[in-house]
Amino acid sequence: MATISATSSIRFCSSLKLSSSTTLQVNGRTSTVKVTHAGWKSKSFPSLRCTGFRVSCSAKPETVQKVCEIVKKQLALPADSELTPDSKFAALGADSLDTVEIVMGLEEEFDINVEEDNSQNITTVQEAADLIEELISKKSGA
């Protein structure tokens, strides 16, 4: 499976101060930033945004994009929230009912039918997109 790693950029708000123990490692094909200590100096809790993503060849970007839209809608996330293909539904605030409702939303959007034991197994955006494409191709192939 081919993967492309885009450069990860992490932007911090001005009130975030990184301690000297932060390390930036660049090795081979990937660059990672390991934050070992971070402190918030202000009363409000600033958001950290990571714009890095990995693209795998398993599902079309449009499919991934549509999945993200449906997930955001179900979980009432702001439209400009940045989700990544490996975003976990649970980490985005989905409880178990949300997960099945996301899957039902995807079924409606893509006109597919997800088997029951798969509905609760889908835990990330990528997994959902991959399953959708698999079911679509099975449908057209049948």
Binding site: S44, C50, L77, V100, M104
Partner: protein
């Protein structure tokens, strides 16, 4: 009845937060189940969240940073902090929260990956985590697989209940829901059934493929059915929650015990533990203890208070 175990103190264990204070708790005896919970909306202090962030592992921190928005990041930090601090309490100060490592079993269920040497035998702790945006809970036992699930009582679903029930529940469960005429009570019973089924699958620890929701029925045994319709909630002294697999309906499995609680009048919590029969020991139902915690700051034992209403206790 406590099962006291002695642990040799591991003198070279590093303490991460020098200012941390975490009450140590004796291990749950084999006849107890413990639950610790956090309410994220009450924990917004940035310096406290900062302290919690430093309890997390580097990869957990990385995962937090990638989440969109303050609320989700805070929730993720609190969830990891809850698991780490809760487990640390039961190691008699031997393992500090930041030192825990985790792994997943073959089916993806998280478990502790004890880093220990010959001098210290780690306690056989089982744990399970559940979160909603407004409550995060961690259940702990010794030697009993556990699953817990939390849902907001007022939770609304995008799809209507009967289509969800028809799709995911068994015929018996759908029939049961259909006997309830009051739509609000029907919705509550749907949520209760959902959390119980979820807790069961999580306790089994084999993933949802091993026990799809429509392959087992959860029912309330006893006179609770009638009392449910009359007064809107089951009588805890009379009802017992049981699970039947469709494959063997007559063979009601007593390998699993359930408890259902209403927490702070706002959430339903379902807990499922394995019923391990120990030779020569009375097979009493586990005693449930519930704490509300602000890690390092405050713990409140709430099990015997109004905050924790037992809808159905372990039997």
């Amino acid at each position: 009845m406590f099962c006291k175990r002695g642990f040799s103190m591991h003198t070279t264990v590093k303490s991460f937060c020098s200012s941390s204070y975490l009450t140590t708790i004796p291990l749950p005896s084999k006849r107890e189940t413990h639950m610790w919970y956090i309410t994220p909306d009450e924990l917004k202090d940035a310096s406290l969240i900062d302290q919690y962030l430093n309890v997390l592992s580097p990869s957990e921190k990385e995962n937090v940073i990638r989440l969109p928005g303050d609320k989700l990041q805070r929730s993720a930090i609190l969830a990891r902090t809850l698991v780490r601090t809760t487990l640390a309490r039961y190691t008699n100060s031997v393992v500090s929260p930041s030192l825990f490592k985790f792994r997943k079993n073959n089916f993806g269920k998280p478990e502790v990956d004890w880093q220990c040497d010959k001098n210290w035998k780690p306690p056989p702790l089982h744990f399970n985590l559940s979160h909603t945006s407004s409550l995060i809970a961690c259940g702990v036992t010794v030697d009993m697989p556990i699953g817990i699930d939390v849902e907001e009582k007022q939770r609304k679903t995008r799809n209507n209940l009967s289509s969800l029930a028809r799709r995911f529940f068994t015929l018996d469960e759908v029939d049961y829901l259909n006997t309830i005429s009051n739509p609000e009570i029907q919705r509550q019973e749907f949520i209760k059934l959902w959390t119980l089924k979820e807790a069961y699958v999580k306790a089994l620890g084999k993933g949802f493929s091993a026990a799809p929701f429509n392959t087992f029925t959860i029912r309330f045994r006893g006179t609770s059915r009638l009392s449910l319709q009359k007064c809107g909630h089951s009588n805890s002294e009379e009802s017992e929650i049981i699970v039947e697999t469709l494959a063997e309906p007559k063979n009601v499995t007593t390998n699993w015990r359930f408890a259902l609680l209403e927490l702070a009048s706002s959430h339903y919590v379902a807990i499922c533990v394995e019923n391990k029969r120990i030779k020569g020991v009375e097979n009493d139902p586990p005693l449930l203890k519930v704490w509300k915690t602000v890690p390092f700051i405050k713990d409140e034992l709430l099990s015997e208070t109004d905050s924790v209403r037992t809808i159905s206790s372990f039997v």
